[in-house]
Symmetry: C2
């Protein structure tokens, strides 16, 4: 007789308790409460094959309540993935174990996304479900036909991003998204009654979701609900009524089981309660066999899928699309055209021009904007909206949901097959920042098109003018921030972003900028991060380092300095991170390591000067804005902050005088 579902579930409970006890750190409550529901999902519904965690047509499982990480580690081990091993689990939360505190996609195949920051797992699942439907529209049910399942806790559902994600999923009728809500009525602070009175189910219903309720401790009932979820065309919320820490006889149902080891005595009591063996990490052979059998359920489906793929005329196309490489044949002719007909253009517009060329040859891109389409210039002519009645569309109207958009893009990128890009104003990267960080941590290839990148946006004023944003984004590890100076650099930066394995931010102007790169070059100069745009004519005494819209100002200021006999290089620096990664000789050539009295380094960026000491040195000059902005036309705002050729040249000359350089 095969083991009962409950006994299978108790194997999860055992591993969760033991691993947390061993680490004396972690969250046993959620895995123990949701073990039955997870068992139902993994043994009866989820389409997966541990032998190939990357099988493109697998169902995606997202543990949005990532603190309950032992749940997924237990599931991966029990169903027969190569990793984690039991030893990995014994080293839960220890240095070097792939069983990290929270599930990380870069540690374990089978962990689709990195979760823990609440709300974002579910929000990324929305993106996965979008990507699936989009690819299905091209490749059909034979090749793309899978679902996204989520386990979410109260924290996931209380976070603001949940509203954005639930709204977006309902609007797009993502019927293949199924959320199991671990309704255990407990948060860290205690009862959910302390902070929440809402009718969660009614809220989902109001957003066009199917809502179901069941006893989450009864695998059979969860299974029935999952059947209903699969059968419906709407996204589904399944309210699983559970008891946190279920199986720990004295502590279950209390916040004490949420985020701490149960303690030796309670673990022993739980073991008895659950009918488990007394040894730590011991899984009875019949349970392991039962689990491994469940893990093999998907092998046939995978083999059949591969046969269909081999037989399909779209095989190469699908594999190429899943490969994620972006054709860059558009770049050279695009730049040739730009330099052939030099015109002032805002870099947001230049981005749109680049996108027209890109979207024509790169089928993977899915664009969008958080309700600033016309301002972000993210939609190209032939892009149709991706909507409930047209999943094949390549443009998403995300609504006023910056965070939801960014998280969905993470999910799309990690699903594979699509390269998402999306826009809002640079200042509103703050709204999306938790997801931008996760893009970087997860190495998700997401391109953030962030326009209105300075006081140059003008009259909207301080609330809309980014000051600290460029530097704050540059401070995030693994995020490439580009601020191109003209249409040519914009195209180059787009090419770099498309070629990157990780996320990029393009910071783009609202206002027009002249072409500063008037000659086509064989090399993508932006790839160096910084390069000498104009060498000094007189003996070099000054290096003006500028980014984006301030490069034009630097060039004009350099002209004035040369007029005074002061030789000035102008260095355009579209990407500081890339410059930092250049060989020492290159960096030395651009920024020679000599005293600032010999060669004065000056940074010019219409944002905070914080951090620019990295390039100017302590005795260099940093020209920027170290306060909030002003509401005024762009030109007046630039004047006000001394960001004009005249003012910059005058400050440089004054500074040189003070420093005894002239």
């Amino acid at each position: 007789m095969p083991p009962t579902q409950r006994r299978l579930a108790n194997a999860i409970r055992a591993l969760a308790m033991d691993a947390v006890e061993s680490a004396n750190s972690g969250h046993p409550g959620m895995p123990m409460g949701m073990a039955d529901a997870a068992t139902a999902l993994f043994t009866r519904h989820l389409k997966f094959d541990p032998a190939d965690p990357h099988w493109p047509d697998r169902d995606r499982f997202i543990l949005s309540a990532g603190h309950g990480s032992m749940l997924i580690y237990a599931l991966l081990y029990l169903t027969g993935y190569d990793q984690p091993t039991l030893d990995d689990i014994k080293r839960f939360r220890q240095l070097g174990s792939p069983c990290a505190g929270h599930p990380e996609n870069f540690e374990l195949p089978g962990v689709e996304v990195t979760t823990g920051p609440l709300g974002q797992g579910l929000a990324m699942a929305v993106g996965m479900a979008i990507a699936e439907r989009h690819l299905n529209a091209t490749y059909g049910d034979d090749l793309v036909d899978h679902r996204t399942f989520v386990i979410a806790g109260d924290g996931d559902l209380m976070e603001g991003v949940n509203h954005e994600s639930v709204g977006l999923a309902g609007h797009l009728k993502l019927g293949r998204l199924i959320v199991l809500w671990d309704d255990n009525k407990i948060t860290i602070d205690g009862s959910t009654d302390l902070s929440r009175s809402e009718d969660v189910v009614a809220r989902h219903a109001a957003c066009g979701w199917q809502t179901l309720e069941c006893d989450g401790l009864d695998g059979g009932k969860v299974s029935k609900a999952l059947d209903q979820a699969v059968a419906d065309e709407r996204p589904t919320l399944i309210r699983c009524k559970t008891i946190i820490g279920y199986g720990a006889p004295n502590l279950q149902g209390t916040a004490a089981t949420h985020g701490a080891a149960l303690g030796k005595a309670e673990v022993e009591a739980a073991r008895k309660e659950l009918g488990l063996q007394p040894e730590e990490f011991a899984i009875p052979q019949d349970l392991l066999s039962g689990w491994r059998a469940a893990g093999q359920r998907g092998a046939t489906a995978r083999a059949q899928w591969h046969r269909r793929l081999q037989a399909s005329g779209k095989k190469d196309q699908l594999l190429a699309q899943l490969g994620g490489q972006a054709d860059d044949s558009w770049l050279k002719p695009h730049i040739d055209a730009l330099v052939g007909d030099p015109k002032p253009v805002a870099t947001r517009k230049a981005s749109e021009m680049a996108l027209e060329a890109i979207n024509a040859v790169v089928p993977n891109t899915i664009g969008g904007s958080a309700d600033l389409t016309g301002s972000n210039n993210t939609k190209t002519k032939t892009q149709e909206p991706l909507a409930a009645d047209n999943y094949g569309g390549r443009y998403i109207y995300y609504g006023i949901r910056e965070f939801g958009m960014a998280a969905a893009m993470n999910g799309m990128a990690l699903h594979g097959g699509v390269i998402p890009y999306g826009g809002t104003f640079l200042v509103f990267t703050d709204y999306a920042r938790p997801a931008i960080r996760l893009s970087a941590l997860q190495r998700a290839k997401v391109i953030y098109v962030m326009t209105h990148d300075s006081i140059g946006l003008g009259e909207d004023g301080p609330t809309h003018q980014p000051i600290e944003h460029l530097q704050s984004l540059r401070a995030i590890p693994g995020l490439e921030v580009y601020r191109p100076a003209d249409a040519v650099e914009t195209a180059e930066c787009w090419a770099l972003a498309l070629a990157s394995a990780g996320p990029s931010v393009l910071a783009l102007t609202r206002q027009n900028l002249p072409l500063v790169r008037t000659q086509a070059t064989a090399e993508n100069l932006s790839a160096r991060g910084a390069y000498r745009l104009k060498p000094a004519e007189a003996t070099r005494t000054v290096i003006l380092l500028a980014t984006g819209s301030e490069v034009e100002i630097a060039l004009a200021a350099a002209g004035q300095l040369e007029g005074q006999g002061v030789g000035a290089d102008v260095v355009s620096m579209p990407c500081t991170d890339r410059f930092d990664a250049q060989p020492a000789e290159y960096r030395e050539d651009i920024l020679p390591d000599v005293s600032n009295r010999e060669i004065l380094r000056v940074s010019i960026e219409a944002g905070t000067t914080f951090g620019w000491e990295r390039y100017t040195g302590l005795h260099g000059l940093r020209i920027g804005i170290d306060r909030f902005g002003v509401s005024a036309p762009a030109k007046d705002a630039y004047d006000y902050f001394g960001l004009t050729p005249d003012a910059v040249a005058a400050r440089v000359l004054d500074f040189m005088t003070q420093r005894g350089m002239r």
Copy 2:
């Protein structure tokens, strides 16, 4: 015969059209669509007196849809506030005009909060409504009895923070919060159908709100709904069905009116349609008189309130509480006790100890946490929960709502009478960042208690370990970021935060730290931002600059360096901004401007090294973490990243050798 409500409303429409036309920038659609509703509110319901915009018992009006700023500028002018003048309005969105692109509380009395970043006006209104009920619990209806009215657009309701705010308001049964939703079915991208399918009203009902619907273009009906809203004990959403740009005959109802001037011809046509005079900025005398009369409605109520205040035994107490000064008599005895009984303690615990002393003598504080009470150590023993059945409580269980918490705290602080502080993990400042920025822009006295401030949080791993956060927060203008090194510095930083006029972040450890300040000092040393904690014993060749938990490491490393004959200062730097603001002589004393070959400057902080060049210079040494963290016990994580006395001393010595200093 007094002018009709519609004619009064048309005066708003006229000013909005004309100002946007004159600036050729701005958002006429919202003011024109909501003019009738706003007129009903301001002429019949809102309790205010333009003669005293700061009257504490006034109703608060929040224009959450801040892009429609001309609505509030028109209302303030028409009802008779000193500012804006008609000339100010004529200079809408121009440099120096208080009529900025978006309404800013620091520009105009009568603008209660700064809005524009969507969702936050309503979220701050929740805080205002909390503050009102809280003060009412102490001072009673005679002295505190007002409401908070909000005009919100679709953007406000789509943003994630709306979910948090609506949930919080429903949970706390904030019946004095009334939201007028401008339901015009238009966003920037076009119809709301492009991105939203939810039943907004049902969602609010699910959160315990009263929901009402009316024709928003009919002032009488809005007025009736407002009466119903006032009569109910629940917060109320009034769905005002409107037409964006109402009155512009050819453009109304379209996204074209949202964010751009209507154009001369359309303005002229609108003027005819609305029965207005042909001159720009001309308000017929009867309308101005009608408005001014409406502006005087509140004078009697204000006079009566002042009489009640004079007669009240609680007058001085209330005025002191509204004054916002925090008693600092707790500081000296508290520090004396700490140095008298030196014990290792986490700074989060030290913060709790300080709070025990503070909350006993400062009646204004309202604490809270986004569901991490026991981890943030934000709740002191005598604090009772502030809840629907106990508004007098001084602790708020905000739930898993970091952004909603931060925005509510902004609202509380700007309401006056309370000093809000609230906690989450430092890494989750990302979730609250849009509101933290608004704290700084608005000069709101909010104290962010951000614990688990480094890899020292240990096993929770990269998703929970802040890396870029300290520097990203320091980059925000006007935000003071404190990272105390021990319990004494923690108390000093609390005292500084309480004395500040603006917002502060306290970054606090999870892990224990020894007392490094073992002697009481007459001066608050943290007030300098950085100070010499330990002077070099041998000739000073090294200055170790450290913050927070790394000060202990710096001290031990300095000991090792001294053992090698290398004299090393240890500088503790709890607040970089404060140090930057010190006189040059002081800064020169701490960090002498000599070559790094003569005196090597070394920064030590368990976070990104980005930006530390400001203190080390280019040729100094920056010890930190320029990648994401690791999941491991705190000690192992510190070892892994070389943040130990041994590793630091070795790196410094190596660096000195490389640089030819030894």
